[in-house]
Amino acid sequence: MHATIEADNLRKVYRGSIPALGEASFTVGKGEFVTLIGRSGSGKSTLLNILGCLDSPSSGTLSLDGVPVDFRDSARLVSIRRQKIGFVFQQFNLLPHLTAQENVEYPMLFNYREPEERARTAGGLLERVGLDGRKDHLPAELSGGEQQRVAIARALVSDPPIILADEPTGNLDQKTSGEIFSLMQEIGRERKTTFFVVTHEREFGEYADRSFRLVDGTVTAI
């Protein structure tokens, strides 16, 4: 059994030799729920973007779902993003002019599925995140927590093995944050999806199978 995420000595040095990430080495297994905690500026987002193939490391290697990632092959990176990764953002980042249903379907325009299949999959996921009655609502008509539920459904729509979430509750109150975390935890267990969640708040560590801490660019397990 290979690990779902296998990071080996990932480093990132930005222009002007700002070291944002150094020696990030860890593995995450299938269906694991992992949180990453660290101070602001410690490189959490940088690491997450590299794991999501949105950014490339200065050195080091990464395997996702058993496949080594070649960061120079941009076409491959696109197909990895389509098939292996789901993103959840702090700002929700739903498309404002699309309804909840359409937002969830959106990734399937790129990772193409026929309209009927799209509607079915998206509808099922919206039901799963508890927004059955809100399918035709625009993001502006939904609360922050509801928007993030839509975003979680959107991240799951291509049934990727990995969901990457960058401070998904950063814009939500305490109670709603807890609901979002437990929703992610349940879904991870149901679907055997690996969750890699960046968070500021240590208390959400209780939802995690494991927690990592990022200090000065180095990942350590807690």
Binding site: N49, G52, L54, D55, S74, A75, V78, R81, R82, F87, F89, N93, L95, H97, L98, Y106, P107, L109, F110, N111, Y112, E114, P115, R154, S158
Partner: protein
């Protein structure tokens, strides 16, 4: 393909959301298209009018085939060449002719057409004012209407009269020598308003008998079955190494001239198209900038650079289609204005000169012009979208997502 349709639906959302901006941008292109459509229609209307006038005033289906000079040697019209001309498809009748000239004893100059009577009949359907056509190989002649008047007036020659003409020959050193020939006028043509009016017409063989050696024909007159086929016949004639002339050449030169006029009119109108295109570039650059984060998120969700380009270009396609349709409608309106107000003004200002236009539309909007206008709008919009689309596709997704 279905993917493109889904993209189109998605872009339609964007477009509908920014209805006002898209409409204003499309309007920029539309005005340019309308100007081009109106200008081209105006040019086409004048072309149509000019060609109609030529059609009505001239004998379009008559072609005069003459020999031509190729690489310094003259290609003469021999009997066999004349036969080839006769066999060209759509040639109804073809008559080889001689063209010579006589003068009267009082130095009145006479152009002579030597043609067989049956060819004359088939080619020109001559209507006689009096007398008869000439018999074969005789020195009896037929006079064109004007020539008959002239001879009667200045020479006192009437129908049935025998009279003497002078034929001037040149020997090999270029020195002239005159011969005299007695001919008899046997008939007069009715006025025809064409070249035959001033000609003395006699039998071809009678003309050829005037010369000691056999001479090549000066021309072959060709009657084409339909005006539509004249150009094709002219081309076939040229491929025989001969020259084709006739009223159709006027139409050709009108066409060449109007092509140029329309081109110039459109170039000026097209300047407003350039402005419209720049408006699209501006709108799309703005739209891409505003949606920086959306584009970054789309990339994170699996959009390739190609997908991003397609999304942006699809929006431009909408702008182009709206601009094309509105532009065509405006163009039709402009043409209508030219045809009503403009025409009335022109006729009132120029009086008789342009009274012919009263029957015609000054601007002629054809489906072809409208289709071309629409396509130009669409293509221009897509071209204008290339830069903003590439700009969007080249975004760094990480930075784009962080963009506020």
């Amino acid at each position: 393909m279905t993917k493109l349709l889904d993209f189109a639906r998605l872009s339609a959302r964007q477009v509908r959301k920014k209805r006002m901006r898209v409409l204003l941008t499309a309007f920029g292109i539309a005005i340019g298209i309308a100007a081009v459509v109106a200008m081209v229609s105006f040019g086409e209307g004048i072309r149509y009018q000019a060609i109609e006038t030529i059609r009505q005033q001239s004998d379009l289906t008559l072609i005069e085939v003459t020999g031509s000079v190729k690489d310094g040697t003259v290609i003469p019209i021999t009997e066999s060449k004349a036969e080839l001309v006769r066999k060209i498809p759509h040639v109804e009748a073809a008559g080889p002719v001689y063209r010579v000239s006589f003068s009267t004893l009082r130095q009145t100059y006479i152009d002579v057409l030597g043609i067989r009577a049956e060819d004359l009949r088939a080619l020109f359907r001559p209507a006689l004012a009096s007398g008869e056509l000439y018999p074969a190989s005789s020195s009896q002649v037929l006079l064109g209407h004007e020539l008959a008047e002239k001879l009667k007036k200045y020479e006192g020659i009437r129908e049935g009269d025998l009279f003497t003409v002078v034929i001037r020959d040149y020997n090999e050193y270029g020195a002239p020598s005159d011969r005299k020939l007695a001919i008899k006028t046997g008939g007069t043509l009715r006025a025809r308003e064409d070249a035959l009016d001033t000609l003395l017409i006699m039998d071809r063989d009678a003309v050829s008998a005037l010369s000691n050696e056999s001479m090549p024909y000066n021309a072959v007159y060709v009657r084409v079955d339909d005006p539509e086929n004249v150009m094709a016949v002219a081309r076939d004639v040229q491929s025989l190494g001969l020259t084709a002339n006739g009223a159709f050449r006027q139409i050709e030169s009108v066409n060449r001239f109007m092509d140029l006029v329309i081109l110039f009119l459109s170039i000026f109108a097209a300047i407003s198209l350039v402005v419209g295109a720049l408006m699209i570039v501006n709108t799309m650059v703005m739209s891409v900038y505003e949606r920086t984060r959306e584009i970054g998120v789309s990339m994170a969700l699996g959009a390739s650079q190609g997908d991003v380009v397609t999304l942006i270009l699809t929006e431009c396609l909408y702008i182009g289609m709206i601009g094309g349709i509105v532009g065509d409608l405006l163009g039709i309106f402009f043409s209508w204005v030219i045809n009503t107000a403009g025409k009335a003004y022109l006729i009132s200002q120029t009086g008789d000169l342009f009274s012919a236009f009263a029957r015609y539309d000054l601007a002629l909007v054809t489906p072809g012009i409208l289709i071309a206008g629409f396509l130009v709008a669409v293509i221009l919009s897509l071209v204008s979208g290339i830069y903003p689309a590439l700009q969007a596709a080249r975004m760094n997704p990480v930075e784009a997502i962080r963009h506020t």
